[in-house]
Symmetry: C2
Subunit: 363 residues, 2 copies
Amino acid sequence: MFEKTTVDENYIRVPRDKLFNFVVEVFKRLDVPEEDAKIVADNLIMADMRGIESHGVQRLKRYVDGIEKGAVNVHPNIKVVKESPVFAVLDADEALGQVAGYRGMKLAIEKAKNTGVGIVGVRNSNHYGIAGYYAYMAVKEDLVGISMTTSRPLVAHTGAMEKFMGTSPIAVGAPVENDYPFLLDMATSVVPSGKVEVYRRKNKPVPGEWAISTETGEVIYDPNEILSPRGTILPLGGLREITGGHKGYGLSAVVDILAGILNGATWSRHVGGTSDKHSDVGHFFMAIDPGAFGDKEEFKKNMKKFVDELRNAKKHPKFKRIWVHGEKGFLTYETRLKLGVPIYRKVYEEMNEIAKRLGVPTL
Amino acid sequence: MFEKTTVDENYIRVPRDKLFNFVVEVFKRLDVPEEDAKIVADNLIMADMRGIESHGVQRLKRYVDGIEKGAVNVHPNIKVVKESPVFAVLDADEALGQVAGYRGMKLAIEKAKNTGVGIVGVRNSNHYGIAGYYAYMAVKEDLVGISMTTSRPLVAHTGAMEKFMGTSPIAVGAPVENDYPFLLDMATSVVPSGKVEVYRRKNKPVPGEWAISTETGEVIYDPNEILSPRGTILPLGGLREITGGHKGYGLSAVVDILAGILNGATWSRHVGGTSDKHSDVGHFFMAIDPGAFGDKEEFKKNMKKFVDELRNAKKHPKFKRIWVHGEKGFLTYETRLKLGVPIYRKVYEEMNEIAKRLGVPTL
């Protein structure tokens, strides 16, 4: 079992279904149609279940704020702007990002089933939660899935000293025979902002070269400063070209191009956050049928050989084991399905305050 | 002008066309058909012209060795194994990687022009030179281009301590109005092996945490050790998860999946080098027509706004300027077109030895 189950009094465990129903009720009370409320709830809780607390229900307040401020359209008219048997571009009409994302990947999956490949771009959307959620949608259909999204400016590209690029994540999933799927879900920055938020909450300096000052360009470690206008996160690879910082910058730019500019959405510094009006977040979804490119069972068998070989490579003495991408998350998911989802006490209280204010039964 | 034009007596400048004709003659003498010889020569010299010396004519000897050992098939029967209007899988029949790669991306471009998207996978190929060459082929046709390839094992994935993953590069290009195209061309390792070779030649320790010992797992700096069986390169993000090493590992795995396993090619530790028989290198090519997803001119205009904004961001005091991916290479290309291509003296001599042995006029 992966997850340590030691008692941490800062956390309260809530059964998955109870948490799901709670989140659905909150969104329904905000006039989100039940079907859409379930999509958003499933996405947020999947993050918590997989151990990506930063993208889980702790973001509920931001979504609630976004809806109450009118920054998010809960009755969107999601339009197909362009379409062919293999691709489509959707205008999300400022929908909840999860609703637009779910629709986008579903369409990409349908197309991949018919033509071997499906690509769907989305513009005019909002924060869509964890990128891996959508890649995994494809994997559950025995397809390879790719998901990317633009995001609000938090990262300084190589040579720059301001919040400019998004942490723009990339997720790629693939089915594996008799094993957990392969599921990479990564910010193109050295860390996502949520990891810095965790250190802020613990009141501890961040443990690596994650960010620089926007005033001096020096590396800074104080999470409060990093998350203030005086700090900015670094791209994957860090500050300098010598450690490949320009590569993280390049990958983030690719997300801006494929998920943003290609779909007529905006890019990098112009992208809005969850509670901003007209965030114009862009997504890119792609599904590929390995059965169209070759033999599907052969593909899954070879994936199994690949992941087993990865795990059984000569191990580094400083590491306990070698992980395959996705594995930790699936193990954590299984544990939390049994034991409940740990919710940070302050988040738990915040959620109940929302419930009381909206007249929804508390957790 | 980007390139410093100071005199370095270790280098000899050769005019581009002279170098091109020389390389073509060498390959022709090895029974490579003229058309194919020109493709390989253009690819190698493009690397030198863009300042990627590691992938330029200094590799000529390896290609010559590979052909002479019979590891490369100079009269391949490149077969289309699977095909639809939007994708294809090619079996390269152990062709020169550049020949298979050129054919693959050309087909992807044709498909993208007809259907908006084209994807071509290749198996049973060899080392294809710089990944950016193929992405740029698409860009020259006003398309977005993506190119990836598996490569021989040189990198330890997170938690491992052996040469296991490839440096597996990813290249993405996009056209920009009135400017150089955007062109990212990156190894998914912290550095490509060619960069380590440069330090070996200079007899200097490498300047960053690029590699570890396969015996102790400690970071090592001696380029001879790194390139020996006692060393292995680190993924982008470095040794530890705290700096995102697992992300570079994940991206490399994605290349193994998309360029390798999906096409029925092998993966990571099983991939051969330039002079190995049955290298079974796999490639992935994709072209997207921005005019299918939206308005092509609008796309290129927005790309121009994007790259100008990147350049004009608040500059870090330790950097002279902010570069856009591809720009340095195009500037270097222009300089070298005028001044000639600098060839390392030892490489120059090695090339002339090859010429004498094969009975081709020397450089």
